[in-house]
């Protein structure tokens, strides 16, 4: 198939960017979206132009490196996939595809389609852990039985890949889904309850410091999340936060 691509090009963080048009022929349905961009880049290199830079690594939907706002949607039109798992069979011959970086104040553009998501790391550093030493001197793993439903729910929250689609989907560029996924994972497990009060306060404080917006319950994050992280996590974080605040 033949595609008309409109791609955001930006030299570096301090330069202005713009949309540039490209026409690409010979795209096959079995190609992934990123393989389509590989082919475009091969063409650009052979013409002596600079290739389009984009973030990607595992190309199997788990590392959370790839991003891209495709026709206005994070990770494109398919559901429950990352851009690397999006296949060109979801598009038609003659389609125009607009490709932009994830847009958020807390995700500044580094180059072309690459953004800086280190704000997510800083939120995790503020409290996304259980303070146990890694010496191995702890109790036997089966000494704490955990209700299977709680463990499964914790696992569902823990599958967040930190890609940032939730932020890019949100009109307020809120990071509530991301932050609440980690808060929930630990809130649901007995090991995590010990520091629950400090954790939610510290992580929310950092989230606000980074310049992410507030949550107005539109639910766009849940729709676009490639891992199906549930909005329930935000409700749980709100409850944790409120109870932490009341406890002072």
């Amino acid at each position: 198939m033949k595609l008309y691509l409109k791609i955001w090009r930006q030299k570096d963080a301090s330069s202005a960017g713009k949309i540039v048009d490209y026409t690409l022929d010979g795209v096959e349905g079995d190609m992934s979206f990123l393989e389509m961009l590989d082919i475009l880049n091969e063409e650009l290199i052979s013409k002596g132009e600079e290739p389009v830079e984009f973030d990607h690594d595992c190309r199997e939907g788990i590392c959370g490196t790839c991003s891209l706002q495709i026709n206005g949607e994070p990770h494109g039109p398919d559901r429950l996939v990352t851009t690397c798992q999006l296949h060109m069979r979801k598009f038609n011959d003659g389609d125009t595809i607009v490709i932009e970086p994830f847009r958020a104040k807390a995700f500044p553009v580094i180059k072309d389609l690459i953004v800086d998501r280190s704000s997510f790391d800083r939120i995790q550093q503020a409290g996304g852990y259980i303070s146990v030493n890694t010496s191995g001197n702890t109790v036997d793993a089966n000494a704490i039985p955990i209700n299977k439903h709680a463990a499964d729910e914790a696992m569902d929250a823990a599958t967040c890949i930190g890609c940032g689609a939730c932020v890019a989907a949100c009109k307020n560029a809120s990071a509530m889904l991301f932050t609440s996924a980690k808060v929930s994972q630990f809130a649901l497990l007995p090991q995590g309850r010990v520091e629950a009060v400090e954790r939610v306060q510290n992580m929310v404080r950092q989230m606000d410091l980074e310049g992410f917006g507030n949550c107005t319950n539109t639910g766009a994050c849940e729709v676009e999340c490639p891992k199906g992280i549930s909005l329930t996590n935000i409700a749980r974080m709100n409850r944790e936060y409120l109870s932490a605040t009341l406890k002072g």
Partner: protein, 664 residues
């Protein structure tokens, strides 16, 4: 080669060693710097633990966050000899299975230590909040992996690697928050710096600004993963590379057993020339999936031409070749055995997709089995076929849902209704930097952990053992052993970066990058990487022979020359430049590939993942030569890869009798 294995009985060696080695007191640790390159399971765990002990740690990763290291993609599970199932497991059994699975090419003492600390890994991870799968009683669940007869694999759905890595990442975050770890993300190690023969720092490149930086330390830990991407197509991440290990090799670290590569039997087959990487379907699927091809050639042809569907084929017309050839282990034979068996059937003409390079992995009988059980436990005594299948599919979805979804997205077929198509693909490299019992390379002060070292898996790794080794090295081994070395450095003080050694190393890095940019500009980096991959796959892949290996050595050497003369790298050195990043990595693969072929050529035997066509039994099984090859081949850099000098570490088996590996 001095492997520094402690004396004494096998089961006491590690405890004795820990008691004998030197320690650094807490106040002195604050004056010692350690660099950790790579933030996967081994690097992330080591960095967190070293920082917690009090050392000043700097971590480096090329990804934008430590959480994205490729350990994250590990699916099926992590082994530990907990014996929670009461099925006869023990440290000795895990040790024995690993040595046997590695086809008797690994070190007894290292593997026993690995088994010994394995149980503790699970305790540690649970304490960190890793959400392992549980049974209804609230205790941890287990499943089975290839090459063993017990259930010792702990798992978190099909995302075990992700959950363990996020555990290590959270431990790192705790130390970053305390200021004990400085994390340099989007940074690549370009070279190792030696001062007076000791590893004392690295030259790194900031991948955003392009700036070249100097970082010094009292010791350098390389936890930079494997080199599977030398094949271009593999299950590794696109950025996975050998640069750090290879730079250390060029500075004096011996490279061990480079030809020991794992070709994983269950991956999604190649679909076309555009393919950039391959996707694994977890080995855990072989707990429930049955592997088959048509019995009759005409059926295979009809399936390939799209005239026949696999579900239309009667039971008696299917060849469950693993169950037929290996009745004791069936579909759960080790990876090397399963991969070769798939290749054998496809080479014989029974492959089932367009390219003829795929076999089926079928869940129909598991769906029925689970469906019946579920119906009974739900109180349905006479369920109809449709109900059984519906219930069975729900059970399969709960177990492997994310893998099935992944398959459907890539192949565009529903694996609940039609069998998956799979084919072997490059997955893991058992070879790596040679290390002694302390995980130190042949360069003093330079350590290697996880997949980057060669140590524990011999010629073939068992499933769910990579996560175990990565965390064992990082949490429990390296933090002890490195102290012994660092105890000599308590009076050294900060290592200066304005020395002539740093000047020289930085100059070499700059010269090399300028040379990469100065090619005549005919072909892209990927052009060369794909060519290298084809040579590797065709001549150094699942079956190898002397003639083709000799050709590979020559072809890779020629390709490397061509690369340096004609490669085209756009952009500039002093800015974000992904093509330049790739070029540096491919340049090193072009050297490693040659050493790989040379190693495979010199090893005149078949063992584990290294199958030489000249050395096989009448039944087509691997024929080992313990008399002549019971050693680790450690290669010393000597200018060109083909001139590398061989050093042998003889493997001594005092606790296990060497036998022909049989899974029949």
């Amino acid at each position: 080669m001095d492997s520094k294995i402690p004396s004494g009985p096998l089961a006491d060696k590690w405890t004795k060693h820990k008691n004998d080695i030197n320690l650094v007191n807490p106040a002195n640790k604050r004056n010692i710097d350690v660099i950790v390159v790579g933030t996967g399971l081994a690097g992330g765990a080591a960095a967190a633990t070293l920082a917690e002990l009090g050392y000043n740690v700097k971590t480096f990763c090329y990804q934008d966050s430590p959480r994205r290291a490729h350990s994250i993609a590990a699916q099926g599970g992590i082994n530990a000899a907990k014996n929670y199932q009461g099925d006869g497991d023990s440290n000795y059994r895990l040790f024995y299975d690993t040595i046997k699975g590695g086809d008797y090419r690994s070190r007894e003492a290292n593997v026993y230590r690995l088994a010994e600390v394995s149980g503790n890994i699970i305790d540690q991870c649970v304490a960190q909040g890793v959400p392992f799968a549980r049974e209804y009683g609230g205790l941890l669940d287990n499943r089975s992996f290839g090459g063993v007869l017990v259930s010792r694999t702990f798992y978190a759905k099909g995302q075990t690697g992700q959950q363990l890595l996020l555990g290590a990442y959270s431990a790192m975050n705790r130390q970053i928050n305390r200021g004990k770890i400085q994390a340099y993300n989007r940074h690549e190690m370009m070279d190792l710096v030696l001062v007076d023969g000791k590893a004392r720092g690295i030259i790194a490149r900031d991948l955003v600004s392009g700036e070249i930086e100097r970082h010094s330390a009292h010791a350098v830990v390389l936890a930079t993963g494997g080199y599977g991407n030398v094949f271009f197509l593999s299950t590794n991440a696109m950025g996975s590379n050998v640069m750090a290990a290879w730079r250390a090799h060029r500075k004096g670290a011996f490279f061990a057993n480079p030809c020991f590569t794992q070709i994983h039997p269950t991956c999604i087959p190649v679909s076309g020339e555009h393919q950039s990487k391959l996707t694994l379907m977890s080995e855990s699927l072989r707990n429930d999936g049955r592997i088959w091809v048509p019995k009759k050639m005409e059926d295979a042809v009809a399936i390939r031409e799209g005239k026949l569907k696999p579900t239309q084929l009667a039971e008696e017309d299917r060849d469950y070749y693993l169950e037929r050839r290996y009745p004791a282990f069936g579909n759960l034979v080790p990876r090397d055995v399963a991969s070769r068996a798939a290749k054998e059937r496809c080479d014989a003409g029974f492959g089932v997709n367009k390219t003829g390079e795929a076999v089926y992995l079928d869940f129909a009988s598991a769906i029925k089995r689970y469906g019946k059980e579920k119906a009974l436990t739900s109180g349905l005594k006479n369920p109809d076929e449709a109900t059984i299948i519906k219930l069975g599919e729900e059970v399969i979805e709960a177990k492997y849902g994310n893998l099935f979804q992944m398959y459907e997205k890539i192949v565009d077929q529903n694996p609940y209704k039609t069998p998956m198509m799979i084919y072997p693909a490059v997955h893991y490299t058992m070879g790596g930097l040679w290390v002694d019992y302390n995980l130190q390379t042949t360069i003093p002060g330079c350590y290697a952990a996880g997949e980057a070292n060669f140590s524990d898996h011999g010629a073939n790794r068992l499933g769910a053992s990579a996560l175990m080794q990565g965390l064992a090295d990082g949490y429990f081994v390296l933090p002890y052993t490195i102290g012994d070395y660092l105890s000599d450095d308590i009076r050294t003080g900060k290592i200066p970066t304005d020395s002539k050694e740093f000047d020289e190393a930085e100059k070499q890095v700059r010269d090399r990058m300028e040379k990469l940019m100065g090619g005549s500009g005919i072909h892209s980096v990927d052009y060369y990487h794909k060519k290298l991959g084809k040579i590797m796959w065709n001549k150094c892949g699942m079956a190898r022979n002397a003639k083709e290996l000799e050709e590979a050595v020559k072809e890779i050497s020629d390709l490397r020359k061509d690369f340096w003369e004609n490669v085209k790298v756009p952009g500039t050195i002093d800015s974000k430049n992904q093509e330049l990043e790739k070029a540096g990595r491919v340049a090193d693969f072009l050297e490693l590939g040659e050493l790989f072929a040379k190693d495979a050529l010199h090893r005149n035997e078949s063992c584990g993942g290294h199958f030489r066509e000249e050395y096989q039994t009448e039944e087509g099984e691997a024929l080992r030569d313990d008399k002549n090859f019971k050693y680790v081949a450690a290669w010393e850099f000597a200018g060109e890869p083909k001139d590398a000098k061989l050093h042998k570490e003889d493997l001594v088996y005092e606790n296990i009798e060497l036998k022909t590996r049989s899974y029949k």
